[in-house]
Subunit: 206 residues, 2 copies
């Protein structure tokens, strides 16, 4: 069993993401990552101070691939939509890591770059610094919540099915709505909610 000489925190993150993709977030442990790399558990601590730092590296790895250049030649609402959708696509590739992205996004370099771009689009659209900040926070809130909704209880998933089977006399609207909506694809649902927010931004004072 040959042991690699020099690793980086990024190598650990890649191994951790492999574990998450295979065994889910519950399967992630320092021991599992070490086994994945073929080294002793304690050797991980040469590259990373603790588990939390490793988790942050995983989030950076997931989000580093997101293109943060504003989509050119489109109205600003479409530019924002494109930027949000890129994050959704990157995160959706690793559903097991969703809780980590939510917890650690604040320290992610990739998220900072992305936020800077979003603010640039909002500035070009004429929003004041204060309204830019509020708009960014609202977009981040929706993005965060939508990713979690999608991961924890997809609209077309079992949770909705369970809702559809509720007694209609107790929940006349919820039971009916759930069965009606169970066929909406996740990407369409994400876009529908995002469009509401962007429509609100279009009408808002700048």
């Amino acid at each position: 069993m040959p042991r690699p000489r020099s690793l980086t925190a990024r190598h650990l993150a890649t191994a951790a993401l492999t574990v998450i993709d295979r065994d889910g977030l519950a399967g992630l442990s320092m021991r599992a990552v070490a086994t994945e790399l073929g080294i002793a558990t304690m050797s991980l601590y040469r590259y990373v101070p603790d588990r939390e730092a490793l988790e942050r590296q995983v989030v950076d790895l997931v989000l580093d691939g997101v293109d943060t250049a504003p989509p050119a030649g489109q109205p600003w609402q479409r530019q924002l939509a494109g930027l949000l959708e890129r994050v959704r696509t990157a995160v959706a590739a690793h559903p097991g890591a969703v809780p980590l992205t939510v917890t650690h996004r604040h320290t992610s370099e990739a998220v900072r770059q992305w936020s800077e771009t979003v603010l640039g689009v909002l500035a070009a659209a004429g929003f004041t610094p204060r309204r830019r900040a509020l708009a960014l926070r609202a977009l981040l809130a929706y993005l965060t919540g939508a990713l979690q909704n999608e991961h924890l209880a997809p609209l077309a998933g079992e949770a909705t099915t369970a809702l559809a089977e509720l007694p209609p006399d107790a929940y006349p609207l919820l039971s009916g709505t759930a069965s009606e909506a169970a066929r909406v694809p996740a990407a369409e649902e994400f876009r529908a909610g995002l469009d509401l927010l962007l429509s609100g931004l279009s009408a808002a004072p700048r």
Copy 2:
């Protein structure tokens, strides 16, 4: 050390919430809850099958206090705003429990009642079943994400301060916006994002 004879799952939830409020979510363990109740750890399993079920009981406890009657005598947008704000208020009283409400809200009876009310307001406003479902999901996404934003990195908190201290040449907008926005109270921020969503709903087809 007298031990109580008959407890309920709700008693366990109350003790668990006490632990969370005092020591944070990290301090929550079966042993801590048992100690709080003055019983043996294993006795908990007479009232609850496992830790996850206990967590669900905590979420129900936090959300059971939310009034799910639609605020009367107001336009539907204000009714929705009121319903969202009630949840925010209830959850904000137990910030340590925020991650639990996000994870377990799908199985919460209180959330179902609340969702039924929201759908009723949307139906009265003329939205089709499909558009009601999409609107509810968008509102839940925003609510979920906003609560997490507020708990994990309040706009006026240290995360924003850290952003404000970023090198302005690398993040010209983010650094400036952060210091500008650091004074927005959480309640105002929540309302601002919600207003964007409600404005979008007002303009949306029904």
